[in-house]
Symmetry: C2
């Protein structure tokens, strides 16, 4: 589980590294960034999962997260969104294949050999960063955006033993109930929709998973062009209400689906996680 | 001087616009971004000039400036770094031609017809944004990075009647004394180096220009790979000392030439300008 550092930058009184390592889950090299505050640690940390078309770079350069991470003394890990490279299946569409792993373990050809992002994030990634850097594995949270918000919610709800806190920006709350989910999960998991339930945040809440989270914070822009057709935060509010669980959806007037939206409220999310780590 | 809005985003409680307008100086359409706080205004504002290879987008998405701008109630304008498009001269190198206007008014072929960035920034840009948005033209400052730090310093020193404050990140302080300057100013202004002096911050200080600025703030990373060969902040310190002027160069240990460096100290620069606007 050797981690290779590709480049290093000082940012906000800490060190940011662009890294690569070999994942046994995906059977490919995988890239991520990790920002660590100065000092001895071990530091609590957050895993960020990005959305469709993103790599490890988008959040790293656009979110403004490190200023807030420095204030709270929290490290930040941001992986790529899929396996990539020669021999890895792809699709010309932006919402399937490379850059669109949906944080599932694919069971269908041609995706099954490499598109194992659920196992990658919960296994190889955590092992690699906790092995290579001064991180406190007992104090970590997860968050993400859009497809990555879906990833953060489903991974946390399935693995509350791994994460103490979870939040999301404009997440796909129910792949069972939107076109992005229909397309991607049909391709990765096949047409039997019962196999999709472990990758649907609303279904996981209905099934009683992750009940230990005292709250889940979601920010959603009301000028987000994907709100009505894809994101549908009312579905997770309804699932939570029915299950007697707390999910806080904050609807932000005028904000869209971009990193401008994320950068505006990222400080609130760091404070939310800091309280719980 | 019609300003066309290409896209609009909510960011940090204000409105960011990507805009295009026709410049008589460059004879081309020019792009810029402008962020305006909510409220009636008129607002004080800062013009940011970007470095080599940049467009109006780099600072806008990477700097994290709007959080600080919102706190101080200061609007932000960020233009492209050169004219572009069909019929505009270019060079395959990253440090000449499109994306590398050096904020001069070119006198040499093939650049002279369009590469009039000094006139553009001080004329058409300011007129356009002050005409289209609630900005207070009597309270504006200027700052920038690398080539854009050079642009900010030289434009402010030549036009203290336009700007009340000036700062820079890792600026080219003396194009007369570095390879980037040799190459670009030879191309744009010709081999007579006397013609370069109005575009050299150290020479402008030697010539007594812009003495009304009480201080000029410069941040420079010590891990910047361009520090020794291109940037040479000691030259502006020496020029200021000789002239009895104040220029504050803060050398930041470990920081490089990237937007990670800029994002770390952008809040200090906003505070510096806010005190003076």
């Amino acid at each position: 589980m050797t981690v290779e550092t590709l480049s290093t930058h000082r940012v906000h009184g800490g060190t940011l590294r662009y890294c690569r390592h070999d994942s046994t889950s995906t059977g490919t090299p995988m890239k991520f960034t990790v920002w660590i505050p100065d000092g001895q640690g071990p530091f609590p940390y957050l895993v960020w999962l990005s959305g469709l078309t993103c790599t490890e770079d988008n959040f790293t350069v656009k979110s403004g997260v490190y200023e807030h991470a420095a204030r709270h003394g929290i490290a930040i890990v941001a992986p790529d969104t899929s396996p990539r490279g020669e021999g890895v299946a792809d699709d010309p569409a932006y919402d399937l294949g490379q850059g669109a792993g949906f944080y599932v373990d694919a069971t269908q050809a041609p995706w099954a050999p490499h598109f194992m992002m659920h196992s990658y994030v919960t296994g190889d990634l955590l092992a690699a960063v906790e092995g290579a850097f001064p991180l406190d594995g007992a104090r970590k949270g997860i968050f993400g955006h859009s497809m990555g918000g879906h990833g953060a919610l489903t991974i946390a709800l399935k693995h509350p033993e791994l994460f103490k806190s979870v939040s999301a920006f404009s997440p796909i709350v129910s792949p069972l109930n939107c076109p992005w989910g229909d397309k991607a999960l049909t391709a990765y998991l096949g047409p039997d929709r019962a196999a999709w339930r472990p990758y649907d945040a609303c279904a996981l809440i209905e099934d009683g998973k992750g009940a230990s989270f005292d709250d889940i914070l979601i920010d959603q822009g009301l000028a987000d062009s994907f709100l009505e057709n894809q994101l549908k935060p009312q579905l997770i509010e309804a699932a939570a209400a029915k299950a007697g669980r707390k999910v806080t959806v904050r609807r932000q007037d005028g904000y869209d689906h971009s990193y401008f939206f994320i950068s505006t409220f990222i400080g609130d999310h760091l404070a939310f996680h800091a309280q719980r780590l």
